[in-house]
Amino acid sequence: MAAVRVEEVLAAADEQEAEKRRSVTVEKELELEFDLGNLLALDRNPPPAAGLRGAGPRREALLRALARDNAQLLVARLWELPAERAGGAGGPLVAQLPEPTFRLPREKPPPRPRPPTRWEQFARLKGIRRRKKTSLVWDEQAKEWRRRWGYQRAGGDPARAWVAEVPEGADPEEDQFARLRREKRERVARNELNRLRNLARAHRAAATIPAAPLHPTGHQSREELGHVARVARVSTASLGRFQPRLPKEPAEPPSRSGGRKRRFEPLLGNLAAERSRQLEMLRDMGSKKPVLDITRAVNKQLRQEEAEAAAAKGKKKQSQRGKRGRRQQRVGRSGKKSGARRQQQRPASSSTGGGKRKKA
């Protein structure tokens, strides 16, 4: 009797709760994915394609119903977050959002720490640490605390110093004020020079690490490709010593100073090498074929000139032609011109040799 009534009461309460919740519950086949940090909801259910095909108000109504359902689910999730009243009892209800989970690309690459300067390296080696200096210094003359440097500094304005003592070992005729001014200028210049040197060192260190090795396809330049090819050659286990070279690629050992210092062979030493070098020289002098490959040299010069001309012209016509057009232009032009000139050179060289005339 009493028990039955209690059960009835509980059942009725449950019914009421369910009634209330019905207005805010939404039935979906697949659960939505939520990223509350971004206020994002992803619905994987395929939308009713048949209803959405016909244009007009029916489509809008369907879209709105779909949006309403999804928005209801998202808001329900947001309301479940831990919330508090900001600014006291009467303030607005504010919910704490979690961290966004959806991975989005960054705007810029993450910052790289700059390499330590020469002084910083030395200090680290010696264990010298920075001593925090006080910002105010006691000025005896003015009998108060003054700044260490800047406006109204402790020692008085150095520009207005009216006495400059002649130090012990100095020439009495020398202008001390001029000396002080000159020394300050030298100090500033030396400081600036060291700062620029540190910057250059940091820049060089950053440049040797190819951060973005190759631009996405369609944007590579010749220099970029050359640089990347060089880096790729050295990235083997034996640091590129046994990599096969292309037929006309010059064999050069990597120079540590980056091509700045000239290196000379020792005067006396490798007798076998000297002998072979002299014999080679005699052979080249006696042979009929010219050592300098004139065709290659001329082509190289032509290409350089064309590149310069194209760069000057391309800047004007860039917007109209675009990159594809520019490439086509260069290939076409270089093919015609240098082909004609190559044919010109051939008869000249072969006439000196006295050989047969070749028609290419």
Binding site: Q16, E17, E19, K20, R21, S23, V24, G37, N38, L39, L40, A41, L42, D43, R44, N45, P46, P47, A49, L52, L63, R64, L66, A67, N70, A71, Q72, L74, V75, L78, W79, E80, A83, A86, P92, L93, V94, A95, Q96, L97, F102, R103, L104, P105, R106, E107, K108, P109, P111, R112, R114, L199, A202, A212, H215, P216, S319, G322, K323, R324
Partner: protein, 304 residues
């Protein structure tokens, strides 16, 4: 590279602040968007750009003049603009016979174009065509993507990521629940993408969670995907990379179990049990029963 690590150091504090705002940081600024008109932009496209600007204010720049470029052929001018105005998102509108009502939406990484997707506008209803109250400027919108195409198709997946990036707004730690007023709903069906914006009305329901009613508000677009220029996978992965410093630090020696209990671990040094203080521990004292047993044990000696 600091603002002060440049060859020409900034001479004023204002210049220094300007440079510091633009340099790469651990926690980045909100992405700005630049809205550009092409050489032959028509009324529809211009209206679209103006409406998107209204939605994205103040994190957008609307360029007034027409710019004669073709983003899919030459990206240098876009990259130049991006560098000048420090915007990493862009929207370029143009119109020609072959591609009517064209809208190119894209994003940059390190001032170089990362992704670009060309969309055609089939139908557009502007903010001023729908006559009802709008929500305040700068409201963070709720984004909803409906349709399984957004997960299955690679291009649609990138488009989804692009749209989230574009319309996300600033990243905030907490929000006022009554201020959730704006919803952007994207449905992908039948090769078309329907973008609708609604104003949210919170109605009373019996329980704590309010009932949602939607009112069509802002710009609504019917889009068709045309060309795409997506970044290669490794380039994209590189742009996704977050620095390690941003990872939340893991607390050691704390573990949780399924029921929500938190367990902690304490590491102790080896104790010398001989030096344990037992006199002050009541539990370790001998009970009278034990004492008598002991006495009786040793009593034969003593009883003499």
């Amino acid at each position: 590279m600091d603002a002060l690590d440049r060859v020409v150091k900034p001479k004023t504090k204002r210049a220094k602040r300007f440079l510091e705002k633009r340099e790469p940081k651990l926690k980045e600024n909100t992405k700005n968007a630049m809205l550009i008109k092409g050489g032959n932009a028509n009324l529809t496209v211009t209206e679209v750009l103006k409406d998107i600007y209204a939605v994205k204010k103040p994190f957008a720049v609307l360029y007034k003049k027409k710019n004669i470029t073709r983003p899919f052929e030459d990206q240098t001018s876009l990259e130049f603009f991006s560098k000048k105005s420090d915007c990493s998102l862009f929207m370029f509108g143009s119109h020609n016979k072959k591609r009517p009502n064209n809208l190119i939406i894209g994003r940059m990484f390190d001032y170089h174009v990362l992704d670009m997707i060309e969309l055609g506008i089939e139908k557009f209803v502007s903010l001023k065509d729908i006559k009802n109250s709008k929500c305040p400027e700068g409201t963070k919108p709720m984004l909803i993507f409906a349709g399984d195409v957004f997960d299955v198709n690679e291009e649609y997946r990138r488009l989804k990521s692009l749209l989230i990036d574009f319309f996300r707004g600033p990243s905030v730690p907490s929000i006022r629940l009554a201020g959730l007023e704006y919803v952007l709903h994207f449905t992908a069906v039948d090769g078309k993408i329907y973008m609708r914006s609604y104003k949210v009305l919170l109605k009373k329901s019996g329980c704590k969670i309010p009932r949602i009613e939607l009112e069509e508000m802002g710009p609504s677009l019917d889009l068709v995907m045309r060309r795409t220029h997506l970044a290669s996978d490794d380039h994209y992965k590189k742009s996704l990379k977050q620095p390690k410093a941003l990872k939340p630090k893991k607390k050691k020696n704390i573990s949780h179990d399924v029921f929500g209990t938190t367990y902690g671990r304490i590491h102790m040094q080896k104790q010398d049990l001989g030096k344990l203080q037992t006199r002050k521990m009541k539990g370790l004292r001998k009970r009278p029963a034990e004492k008598s047993a002991e006495d009786s044990g040793i009593s034969p000696k003593k009883s003499k």
